[in-house]
């Protein structure tokens, strides 16, 4: 295996139980030979117990006791498989009640979203909802799988109609890269192996599409942002004066000698050294975890951001956010929350709900300001101190926030800076 070049691709899957999502994931794992014998044996036994013919592929993604009993997915589950070209992480998100909360969670780190459409039903409300979330979360690549083609006689016309429907409604959304693939997860058509039933489809299978997506540009390499996580001060004889600023590069590229500014203070210095573990390097880029030392002895601590002098983020105390409410308990008007943004933590107040989004019709409602679980709204947030911000569209890492309820410590909302 050429480990040196193999990249990691994270994708999320969206669809309801009936769309065959679990079957699709089972098929991907099975046909890519990622299922072990003891797993296969356990699933075969369960399939037989339930009276299914053959192996029920959907059972490979079964998780917790309650999920198996009820035949549903409760929480995001992560699955792994590797091909000679790439390593894949699937965030398998449930399609029912808590769909938005869970899909937003799975989508937040995804390079790609796989959206399933039942060929018999075409684009339905749920498809629009999933696509809207994918676009809101700025997932770089979208793969629309038109599933159950076996039930519509592998008809090219049905496929073309659905593609047409999708093109139509999605023209309102911000999307960069959309692909369509006709599949049958149940029979394995165009999932890993090319279908013999759809000669009219000339493009890649789902797996080959996932293997070939161009993902190395998914992370912003232009705007250098380095949130400081912690300060390393060994105070050993060998490293008496060492002060390393440890963190994971959020975006961009840093080189020794770069002229940098430390925010929010604005002090200027130059990069003296960059370490990746024990190894000293001349340059480093997102998403590497490194430690950086500066030429000058200035005060830097967790929550500060090291940036290039000629490319700096906005520093704001009041800003607009697209907020997704994640908690059972509804928003409390003018309540204070803890806000986490990169390695920074402040207190925040939601000043105003500008509008609530109807994610089925994409319509904005500026009358309704109550936010409950799974609601999405544009809000104005005010923080106790300025944050170093980029818009989420430009930078997923420095454009995202979460809100924490101080009375329960729960993560109640996720936000994307407008």
């Amino acid at each position: 295996m050429q480990i040196d070049n193999n990249q990691l691709l994270r994708f999320t899957t969206a669809g309801s139980v009936d769309d065959g999502k679990s079957t699709l994931i089972g098929r991907l794992l099975y046909d890519s030979k990622s299922i072990f014998e003891d797993q296969l044996e356990s699933v075969s036994n369960t399939s037989a117990k339930k009276g299914h013919d053959g192996v029920d592929l959907a059972l490979f993604t079964d998780g917790l006791k309650d999920e198996r009993e009820q035949g549903i997915t409760i929480d995001v589950a992560y699955r792994y498989f590797t091909t000679p070209k790439r390593k894949f992480i699937i965030a398998d998100t449930p399609g029912h009640i808590q769909y938005t909360r869970n899909m937003v969670t799975g989508a937040s780190t995804a390079n790609a979203a796989v959206i399933l459409i039942d060929a018999r039903h075409g684009v339905i409300e749920q498809t629009k909802r999933h696509s809207f979330i994918a676009s809101l979360l700025n997932i770089p690549h979208l793969i629309v799988c038109i599933n159950k083609m076996d039930l519509v006689d592998y008809s090219e016309e049905v496929y073309n109609n659905i593609v047409g429907q999708f093109e139509e409604f999605s023209s309102k959304l911000l999307m960069k890269d959309v692909r369509y693939i006709p599949i049958s997860a149940l029979n394995g058509d165009n999932v890993v192996n090319r279908s013999e039933n759809m000669a009219w489809y000339q493009n890649g299978t789902l797996l080959s599409t996932l293997e070939n997506l161009h993902i190395s540009s998914d992370i912003n390499k232009i705007d250098a942002r380095f949130p400081v996580q912690t300060v390393l001060r060994p105070q050993s004889d060998k490293f008496r004066d060492y002060r390393g600023y440890a963190g994971r590069i959020a975006s961009g590229i840093y080189r020794v000698g770069d002229e940098v500014a430390v925010l929010p203070s604005g002090f200027q210095s130059k990069i003296k050294s960059i370490n990746a573990g024990e190894q000293e390097v001349q340059e480093a880029y997102a998403p590497m975890s490194v430690s950086i030392t500066l030429e000058d002895d200035i005060d830097v601590s967790r929550g500060n951001m090291i940036v290039k002098q000629n490319n700096q983020p906005e520093q704001e105390q009041e800003f607009d956010v697209m907020l997704c409410w994640l908690n059972n308990e509804a928003i409390k008007p003018r309540a204070k929350y803890t806000i986490m943004h990169t390695s920074n933590e402040e207190r925040a107040m939601i000043k105003e709900v500008v509008y609530k989004m109807d994610i089925n019709t994409f319509e904005r409602n500026s009358e309704d300001s109550n936010l409950e679980m799974n609601d999405i709204a544009r809000v104005k947030i005010r923080t106790t101190r300025r944050l170093m911000l980029d818009s989420y569209r430009d930078n997923r890492n420095t454009g995202s926030i979460i809100l924490i309820d101080e009375s329960t410590n729960e993560t109640v909302a996720a936000g994307m800076i407008v």
């Binding site: 295996m1 480990i3 193999n6 990249q7 990691l8 072990f36 014998e37 003891d38 356990s42 079964d62 998780g63 917790l64 409760i74 929480d75 995001v76 589950a77 992560y78 699955r79 792994y80 590797t82 790439r86 390593k87 869970n102 937003v104 969670t105 937040s108 780190t109 190395s216 996580q229 912690t230 390393l232 001060r233 060994p234 060998k238 060492y242 440890a246 963190g247 994971r248 590229i253 370490n275 024990e278 880029y285 998403p287 590497m288 975890s289 967790r302 994640l326 803890t338 986490m340 943004h341 390695s343 997923r396 890492n397 995202s400 979460i402 924490i404 410590n409 729960e410 993560t411 996720a414």
Partner: protein, 304 residues
């Protein structure tokens, strides 16, 4: 021709970077974190990553070992050598002590183990040492209940895990806020698979206990795997002791860890062997075979 550098990571570097990020986040957000150290490859890997995360400082966490008393001697030797070379503190929670204090009682019967007893000892050690975050080497690919774990996993003041009410984890924003008496488990290598672990150990040439390499050993065939002979094993009438060339794929208690027949005596050979494996690594662990939900049930109570 000028040489153009590439600006993307390969998957092992990306997994490494993610794990280092999580370890640093643990250090920044908690007062008294420890690494749960079993002497197995996953906790050795976490310790190796912690070394990188804080270089040139020492690892700022103590290692906590829950000692069942049913150990491989090789594991204990390895643990003590590692602790000494790193210059970190070792905290040992002893299951034997918990038994002596009447906190737990030994299981009875042929397949009795101390596996489940560890939960009490672990939670006592966490509470007694005022640990607010225990870093573990759990991986989501290991078991279906673990597939649902967060990087930062909240435990209530009984040390319990509530899989249906977990905090959502978005982007790389980790919420480690807790009330008095609660604690967190952190899983920096959540996204690694067994294969990733071996490829990385090979790449970094990380030292691991000799038990992982093929060696000759006296074993008994039980529950479909080769269980090593030890003072703790009671032979059944029809059981025979064999001498086999075996190695261990995972390390747990000497009483429940089954070996596999193998000639793999180098990291290269082990990685090659693992890549051709058709069974999951926990398939040889009798603690997971007790029922469909053995891991889920133990995890809810506070298991590793």
């Amino acid at each position: 021709m000028s040489t153009q550098n590439k600006y993307y990571l390969n998957y092992l570097d990306e997994l490494e970077s993610e794990a280092i990020y999580i370890l640093r986040e643990v250090w920044a957000q908690f007062e008294n974190p420890v690494i749960l150290f079993s002497g197995g490859k996953d906790s050795i890997l976490v310790t190796h990553l912690a070394k990188k995360a804080f270089y040139p400082s020492k690892i700022p966490f103590a290692l906590m070992h829950v000692d069942t008393g049913h150990n491989f001697p090789e594991t204990i030797q390895f643990r003590d050598d590692l602790v000494e070379s790193l210059g970190v503190k070792l905290i040992v929670g002893s299951v034997q002590d918990s038994i002596n204090q009447g906190r737990v009682s030994e299981e009875k019967g042929k397949n009795a183990t101390r596996n489940a007893l560890q939960i009490t000892t672990l939670l006592d050690a966490i509470e007694g040492n005022k640990v607010d975050c225990a870093i573990g080497g759990g991986r989501r690919d290991e078991e279906k209940a673990r597939a649902k774990e967060r990087f930062f996993s909240h435990r209530n003041d009984f040390g319990e895990w509530d899989p249906k009410n977990q905090r959502p984890e978005l982007w790389n924003l980790l919420n480690g806020k807790q009330f008095e008496g609660e604690h967190f488990r952190a899983f920096p290598i959540s996204n690694w698979t067994e294969m990733d672990v071996w490829n990385y150990i090979k790449r970094e040439n990380i030292s691991i206990p000799s038990l992982y390499y093929a060696h000759e050993r006296e074993v008994v065939f039980r529950s479909n795997s080769w269980i090593p002979m030890s003072d703790f094993l009671k032979l059944e009438e029809n059981e025979k002791v064999h001498t086999k060339k075996i190695r261990f794929r995972t390390l747990g208690d000497i009483t429940i860890t089954g070996g596999i027949e193998s000639d793999a005596d180098t990291l290269e050979k082990i990685a090659l062997e693992v890549s051709a494996m058709r069974k999951t690594e926990r398939g040889d662990r009798s603690d997971d075979k007790r029922s469909e939900t053995a891991m889920e049930d133990r995890k809810k109570q506070g298991y590793f």
